[in-house]
Structure formats: C-alpha cells, structure tokens
C-alpha cells in the first residue's frame, strides 16, 4: 500500500477503463485532426509566414486539445462520487494525483505524436535545428501542462461550471511554460537561436510545479 503500488493500480484501472471505452482516445484523435485542419483553414499557411508562427500554432493546438482531455480527468471519479470512496480509504492522496498526471501525460503525448505529422504535412515544416531537441522540449512542455492541469482540474471540480474553470486557472499559470515551449520550438525549427535557455526554464518549471502539486494535493483533495 505504498504510494507506488497504489499509483500503479490506479493508473492501470484508468487505462483499462479508457481502453474499454476507447471513446476518449478515438474522439480526441479526431478532435486533434480537426484542430489542425481548422488552424490551417484559418491561417492559410504559405511557406514563409507559417514557419514563423508554426511553433505558436502547434502549441496552442496542443493546449486546446490537452484542456479537453484534462477536463475529463476527474469526471470519471465524480460520476458516482467514487472519489469519496478513495478519500475514506487509507490510500495516499498523492498516489491518486500521480496516477492521473501520468495517465494524462501518456494521453497527451499520444495525441502529439499523431498531430505533429499533420502539422508537418500541412505547413510543410522542416526543422533546421536537431530533432531530438524538439522531443525534449515536447516532453518537458507536455509535463508542464499536464501536471498543472491535473492539479487545477482537481481544484475546479468543487466549483460550479467546472469545464470552464480549468482553463481559467490553468492558462495564466502556464504562460511561462507556454512561452518556453513556443520560443524553444521556434528556435529549433528556424535554427536561428539555441533553445538551451528555454529548455532549462522548462525543466525548472517542471520541477518546481511538480513539487508544489505533490505538496498541496492532499489538502485540495480533502477540502470540503
């Protein structure tokens, strides 16, 4: 009954439920495709301009897709108030948080893996900088979004009009991370600057916010 065991069981349970319905996964994929298409419609990408804003476009698209996913995080736990069952049990609260955050992380990463090729095709992107740097940026950036998102989704489940609350608190807090992701991506794509500073920023951001989330989650979960 250590944190790790419970994290694992909870994660497996979530994955099983996800896998069983497959709804969420499938529909998210289609949603991601639509976001890419809508963006390309709206911005009518031509070779030169698009390279300049592609970093921003990609991350904004990921952000919207992720928010939709994050909003569903706790929905399942709230449906029959199953969260209460977790809360009365002796299982450590942080295990629940970690399981949810990791689940969301996997989910959003899958999403990104499928959206990126589409962006590449539609915007005819080619990276001038090294691709592995892009991957590092993507992983760090995704964790930044997801860890805060999971936490704030937990905060916002106690509020009325839940869906809307999440972006409201998530977006402002995430702005530094978003800035880091966008600028790092653009630097790598255009090869004009090194993304080192931004990568460091993202790493620090991840560490700080993961720590804060783990410290505060118990309080948030048990507030009633």
């Amino acid at each position: 009954m250590t944190t790790l065991t419970v994290t694992r069981t909870t994660l497996l349970k979530d994955l099983r439920m996800e896998w069983r319905s497959k709804d969420a996964i499938n529909s998210m994929l289609f949603f991601a495709l639509l976001v890419v298409v809508i963006f390309s419609f709206a911005f009518n990408p031509t070779a030169e301009e698009s390279r300049m804003i592609a970093g921003g476009l990609i991350w904004v698209a990921f952000l919207f897709a992720a928010v939709v996913a994050l909003n569903q995080t706790w929905a399942r736990e709230l449906r029959n108030q199953v969260l209460d069952a977790y809360r009365v049990s002796p299982a450590p609260p942080n295990a629940l948080f970690l399981a949810k955050a990791i689940g969301n992380f996997l989910f959003v990463v899958v999403l990104e893996c499928l959206m990126t090729p589409l962006f590449v095709i539609f915007y005819e992107l080619r990276s001038i900088g090294p691709v592995w740097q892009l991957i590092v940026v993507a992983l760090l950036g995704t964790w930044a979004l997801v860890v805060n998102g999971t936490f704030f989704a937990a905060l916002s489940i106690r509020t009325r009009s839940r869906e809307i609350m999440l972006p409201l608190i998530l977006f402002p807090i995430s702005i530094p991370a978003l800035l880091g992701m966008v600028d790092a991506t653009t630097s790598i794509l255009t090869g004009e600057a090194t993304p080192d500073f931004w990568i460091k920023l993202l790493a620090v951001y991840d560490i700080v916010f993961t720590a804060i989330c783990l410290m505060l989650f118990e309080t948030v979960l048990n507030a009633e």
Binding site: V6, K13, N80, Q81, D84, V88
Partner: protein
Amino acid sequence: MAGTSEPHPPPVILLDNLVKFFGRFAALRGISASFAPGRLYVVLGDNGAGKSTLLRVVAGLMEPSQGSISLLGAKRIREVAPRIGYMGHAPLLYDELSGMENLRYFAGLYGIPDDEVSRNAMRMVGLDPDLPRRVGQYSQGMRQRLSLARAVLHDPELILLDEPFSNVDVHSARDMAAVLGRVRDQGKTIFVVTHQAALMEDVADEFVHMAAGQIVSRDEVVRKSVNVGSMR
C-alpha cells in the same frame, strides 16, 4: 442509559459538541454522544435533519466546524481509516467496470492483494462474482448490494451506511438488512441512516432519532437475547 450487564466497553465513537456550518446554516448543532461497539444503530430523522452530514463528518469526509470526534480511540480519523467502511447516497462505484473489477480496485486501496476477499464480499451480498456485466448495467438493487460489498470489503470495525435501501425493492432490502444483522453479529458496529425503519426493526439494536441537527432521542430495542453470542 446503556444498562448492560457487562462492564462498559470503550465507545467506538465519541462525539463532543459537534457543530457543522454550511455558510450561516448549522447542519449539526452541537452533538455530544457516545456509541458502544458491536451494535447496529439505525439513524432516523426528517429530511435535512443532518443525518448525512453527521455520517460524512464521522467518516472523515468533512471537517467539523467545531467540536471533536474520537473514533476507535483515535483523534485523527486518517489513522483509523482502514478500520472504517462508508457507503454514501451515491453508489461510489465505477459504472464502466464489472463488479469484481470494482472490488478488486478498492481492495487494492486497502492493500488487500487477495482476490478471494473480493469474491467473498460479493457472495456475502448475494451477487455472483463471475458476472461479467458492467456496473452501469446493473439494476438499482444490485448496485446497492455491490456498494455495500465495497463498504465492508476490508472487514471494517465501524460501518457507516447512508440510505442503503433507497430505491431498492422490498426483497433486496430485506436481504441487505439480514446481511447487516449478520455483520453486526460478528462484532462490528454499524450505523444505518434510513427512512424505512420497519425494514430494520428485526436487526436494529438502537434507534437514534435526529432532528434539526441534533440527536433528540435514542431508543434501545429490547430483544430476547438470542444474538448475544450464540450465533457467532
């Protein structure tokens, strides 16, 4: 008031001037009471009397605004969490999983790796552990039974049940009441909030009446002492 022939056992629950505010409204207005172990308490009262609130506070789901609780001898409820079972208005189950998958997960939360425990819990409430159906497709009665199985899975000493018979048909309700009687006979302490007192008449040890956030009276049921020890 207890008047037993044995020496007083230490109380399972000791409430001291418990108050719970929702905004300005006091849902619990200074409850002080003590409850002995191994008994089945039936909590009655009108809508809004504060029954659910009391149960949630005792289960540790809510902090009381004033006053203190001592549970199974402990001051901090989290310490004794493994020894408490709770069932709420809602079923507290995942609709997308089957009955066994649900129980297995919750057993995991209590650190019980053994599948047999979950299977036994299902059998005890009269459900088939091998039923592949998802809980979402269960009828209301089956769901409430499973919910009860979830609450008593880890063999808790104190069991708190909030309207376990709501929307349950008469047969199922009788079955569940009988199960509760048997669990009590194993020495557990049980609190049942219900509006159908008649169902519990045969098994209850004490009726606790609540009104307007207070316990207004407690009626002990005098029974021919069949179930003191012979039935274990």
